[in-house]
């Protein structure tokens, strides 16, 4: 029992985080930046940060992840990192030749007071940024927020720093993606195209972090939103921010800068959230929902009905990131399940408020986010009130094993299974996949543990 030290009694902790349910801002910024075509993310900090983020993303995607680092030294920490960043920009354009460098800060560079806006301006003034190339930035100190807010900051950065309003509106809708997988982004593009709405989706990591085997190491894979498309976001007729925590800040910035109105929707995970997403998108594009999509919805409802007895009343513990937990919790309720314990390391009142609204349908559910909302607390809650199912990233596997709970991997990071890059969790078909996965672990469990006389052929 790896977690044999976990005690049942929950005591308030003052400082300590045990087995976190989040990680730091910069990795989110790096992930977001990879969704721009021809972009090299740049970590303005020590070498380790960049190395850790690349390793974690590599473990999650099984793909090469390219990013550069300012390689801070003691000198930089005394005199500031400006010189490092300036020479890094020069080196990167000379050697790696990206279209854009997306710089994010770290705890170190923020604490010594480096100002990314000022340094990138100096790089531009000094002629270190070649014609037609760009350097964008986002402030992502590790001691604020989580990987999710870091993602939001970089998406805001790319929106604010690229989008321009030419005064001529384009017949297109911005879809600002909250933190989701390349497969989810691909599904959203497919849904929009089937609806007949022209969208500009950003960031877009499909065809970047799910690249095919070609015999070559493509330093800049073919996917990603292009700079021209990002610029054109300022002329779109409206924006849909998919996720109130990780996407909305960018939509607000775009409204402020280019007067593009926006609507925030939940990530389309599950039936209700997908309904709202499809409605919002069809409204934004002034199109009717085609029969094909209605039929897809019907198939999801059909399966939910067919299998309703296997879901009803089952208790679930789930953990992960806000924009995914909000619709997932709602979906579990729609399935007749009982969300019992929910943690997320990502802080924020908005998130808390949304969850409380949804959890009105689940009286007695434990929910906590922010400091000390970690996997240790989750485990303690489970010890006090056992559950039938655990949903979350790979780090849930310790609890699942110790407490013998069926486990569905969902979220970031997933270090021990594949599939998340290729099969979406969003849309009706993504939700159907989720249903299949949940059913799979619940039924496997029943088959494995049922008494011989109760062992069922037909389920």
């Amino acid at each position: 029992m790896l977690l044999r030290h976990t005690t049942k009694e929950v005591k308030e902790r003052e400082g300590l985080t045990i087995n976190p349910a989040k990680t730091c801002q910069p990795i989110g910024a790096m992930y977001a930046a990879l969704g721009i075509h021809g972009c090299l993310p740049h970590s303005h900090g020590s070498q380790g940060c960049c190395s850790y983020h690349r390793s974690t993303l590599t473990r999650h995607y099984k793909e090469p992840v390219m990013a550069a680092t300012s390689s801070f030294t003691e000198g930089a920490s005394v005199f500031g990192g400006q010189a490092n960043l300036l020479s890094a920009i020069e080196t990167i354009f000379t050697v790696y030749d990206p279209e854009v460098i997306a710089v994010h800060s770290t705890c170190l560079s923020e604490t010594i007071g480096d100002d990314l806006q000022q340094i990138t301006k100096k790089a531009s003034d000094d002629g270190k940024i070649p014609e037609g190339k760009y350097v964008i930035y986002a402030s992502t100190p590790s001691f604020v927020g989580s990987h999710i807010t870091g993602y939001a900051n970089m998406v805001t950065g790319m929106t604010e720093q690229f989008a321009v309003s030419t005064g001529e509106k384009k017949d297109q809708v911005n879809v600002i993606a909250g933190w989701m997988e390349p497969s989810d982004m691909r599904e959203i593009k497919s849904l929009a195209s089937r609806l007949g709405v022209k969208i500009v989706l950003f960031p877009d990591t499909s065809d970047v972090l799910d690249a095919p085997q070609t015999g070559k190491h493509e330093f800049y894979p073919k996917g990603g939103i292009t700079i021209d498309e990002l610029k054109s976001a300022g002329d779109s007729k409206c924006s849909l921010a998919v996720g109130c925590i990780s996407a909305e800040p960018a939509a607000i910035a775009l409204e402020k800068k280019c007067k593009v109105p926006f609507e925030t929707v939940d990530m389309p995970i599950g039936l209700s959230a997908t309904d709202r997403f499809i409605m919002a998108l069809s409204k934004a594009g002034s199109v009717k929902v085609p029969d094909e999509i209605t039929a897809e919805r019907g198939r999801l409802v059909d399966v939910m009905a067919d299998m309703e007895q296997y879901f009803y009343g089952k208790k679930v513990a789930l953990f992960g990131d806000p924009d995914q937990l909000i619709p997932l919790t709602e979906f579990l309720l729609d399935l007749g399940m009982i969300p019992a314990h929910i943690v997320s390391g990502t802080p924020g009142l908005r998130f808390e408020k949304r969850m409380k609204e949804i959890l009105e349908r689940a009286p007695g559910a434990n929910f906590r986010n922010g400091p000390q909302a970690d996997m240790f607390l989750m485990h303690q809650w489970i010890k006090n009130e056992p559950v039938d199912l655990l949903i979350g990233n790979t780090y849930g596997k310790y609890i699942a094993r110790d407490e013998d709970i069926p486990f569905v991997r969902f979220g970031f990071p997933i270090l021990d299974r594949i599939g998340h890059s290729y099969f979406p969790n969003v849309g009706y078909s993504g939700s159907l996949r989720l249903v299949e996965k949940i059913l799979g672990v619940l039924m496997d469990r029943q088959d494995r543990t049922s008494l011989e006389e109760k062992f069922e052929l037909v389920m």
Partner: protein, 455 residues
């Protein structure tokens, strides 16, 4: 960007060398921090300390700083324990903005008290991350205070990420270990005793090595740090000899112990038949007054090689003439891998390390065949370029190199933290050959456009 047309990163000419007949002699410039703006495969000081101390299983390891450093090093190393599993949990002070402004000492103190009460560890290691130095937390004072209150060693590890390279992190870890060493009783330790240094028990490797030595009649006092225990470390100054593997990380400790306790050390490697045998013989030779040790060592070598040799021939037959590229952490490992690959008929076309020193690279040059490229602190562009140019069939590296190899249509062997099977010892050489064979000969490559798209 077409990696095949890439020239070397400016400023890196001195970290790359191609061995050619009558070629210019270049002193590889190592010990250099990576160039700003490079896509380096290297990590930081903290990473160095964390990987070295991580396997100590009955201590708590608390990362003092913002959450990331603790999150990314949570159970990432398959360093196996035969008992406690405290090392596999992730503890962090999760510093927030207010802590950065007002200091994190109080939070650290409270965290330590909470943790020690909860887990009852035998010691605690406190790692300071980048910003700790900047905000001026006196972690030494906090550690001292907690040690006094709780009656266990509470050891600061000064591992601020930017204060040097990964090698400096190794040193900081060694310094923390030095504080433990000498605190325990050495009563009852045999004259024929060793410490195993620089063996981290990935996939149970330290157990294999330990068993060989114990079979010879040698007492193993402590392994540092694989399957490590605080009490063993505290009495490790009672051993007669330090046997150091992974030269990069533990030579500092061996030197310190030599100076302070007069314990001599030898450098060994457990990879490959040749080096594994030598590491047993060298220990036996250290105790000339007990010739049985050498007899026993020879017996073990004979028996073990006899066990695996026939199977190995099968791999060798298939792999002869295939080419390998090596890019691993320590240079000493590179030497062993070159020899091990030769055993199975493979040649090495690229040899590199993240942390080798001048002498290491000199030795490498002597060892390598002509045409071999030698690199220090490489990057993905360079690696891809050389793998393609030199038509390698296999890349040996770590987590960040694996997908690059597979994208290029080249086999891969993880010789880093993520190895799942033991590669040390005689049995490890067998597993290594098997893994290389399986990856190089995998049927998947028939579907993959190999070597830069040219079939």
């Amino acid at each position: 960007m077409d990696t095949q047309k890439i020239s070397l990163l400016e400023g890196r000419e001195k970290q790359v060398y191609e061995k050619t007949a009558g070629g210019v002699e270049v002193d590889i410039a190592c010990d250099k921090t990576s160039l700003s703006g490079s896509v380096s495969q290297r990590a930081c000081v903290f990473c160095g300390s964390r990987v070295v101390l991580y396997p100590v299983a009955d201590a708590i390891h608390i990362v003092h700083g913002p959450i990331g450093c603790a999150a990314y090093t949570w159970d990432i190393r398959g360093a196996v324990s035969s008992g406690p599993e405290l090392h596999r949990l992730s503890f962090s002070t999760d510093l927030q903005e207010m802590d950065v402004i007002y200091g994190g000492e109080k939070k650290l103190y409270k965290s330590l008290i909470e943790l020690i009460d909860q887990y009852q560890p035998n010691a605690a290691f406190i790692y300071s991350t980048c910003i700790i130095g900047l905000i001026g937390d006196d972690i030494d004072a906090v550690c001292k205070k907690v040690a006094k209150e709780k009656g266990i060693p509470v050891l600061p590890v000064h591992s601020e990420g930017f204060k040097g390279t990964k090698k400096d992190g190794y040193k900081a870890a060694c310094m923390a270990l030095m504080k433990l060493i000498g605190q325990g009783s050495t009563e009852g330790i045999s004259k024929y005793s060793i410490n195993i240094l620089g063996e981290f028990n990935l996939a149970g490797e330290a157990w294999i090595i330990r068993e060989y030595y114990e079979k010879m009649g040698i007492e193993v006092v402590a392994t540092m740090t694989g399957d490590g225990r605080i009490d063993d470390i505290r009495r490790s100054h009672g051993a007669s000899l330090n046997v150091v593997q992974c030269s990069g990380s533990m030579t500092t400790l061996a030197k310190e112990m030599e100076e302070k306790y007069g314990i001599p050390y030898i450098r060994v490697s457990y990879f490959g038949f040749e080096d594994m045998s030598k590491s047993l013989y060298d220990v036996a030779q250290h105790f000339p007054d007990k010739p049985e040790l050498m007899e026993k060592a020879k017996e073990i070598v004979r028996d073990e090689i006899r066990k695996y040799y026939p199977e190995m021939q099968k791999f060798k037959a298939a792999l002869t003439g295939k080419k390998a590229a090596i890019y691993v952490g320590g240079a000493f490992k590179t030497f062993s891998l070159i020899k091990a690959l030769r055993t199975i008929g493979m040649s090495v076309v690229l040899a590199g390390s993240q942390t080798g020193n001048k002498q290491d690279y000199k030795n490498l040059k002597e060892m390598c065949d002509e045409g071999t490229v030698i690199v220090d602190d490489s990057n993905p562009v360079e690696l891809s370029k050389f793998v393609l140019e030199k038509e390698a069939d296999l890349l040996i590296g770590g987590v960040k190199e694996r997908p690059i190899a597979f994208k290029l249509g080249v086999g891969f062997c993880d010789h880093n933290h993520e190895r799942k099977i033991p590669l040390a010892g005689f049995i490890g050489m067998y597993y290594f050959a098997k893994e290389v064979y399986e990856s190089v000969m995998s049927p998947v490559w028939q579907f993959a456009p190999r070597k830069g798209g040219a079939k």
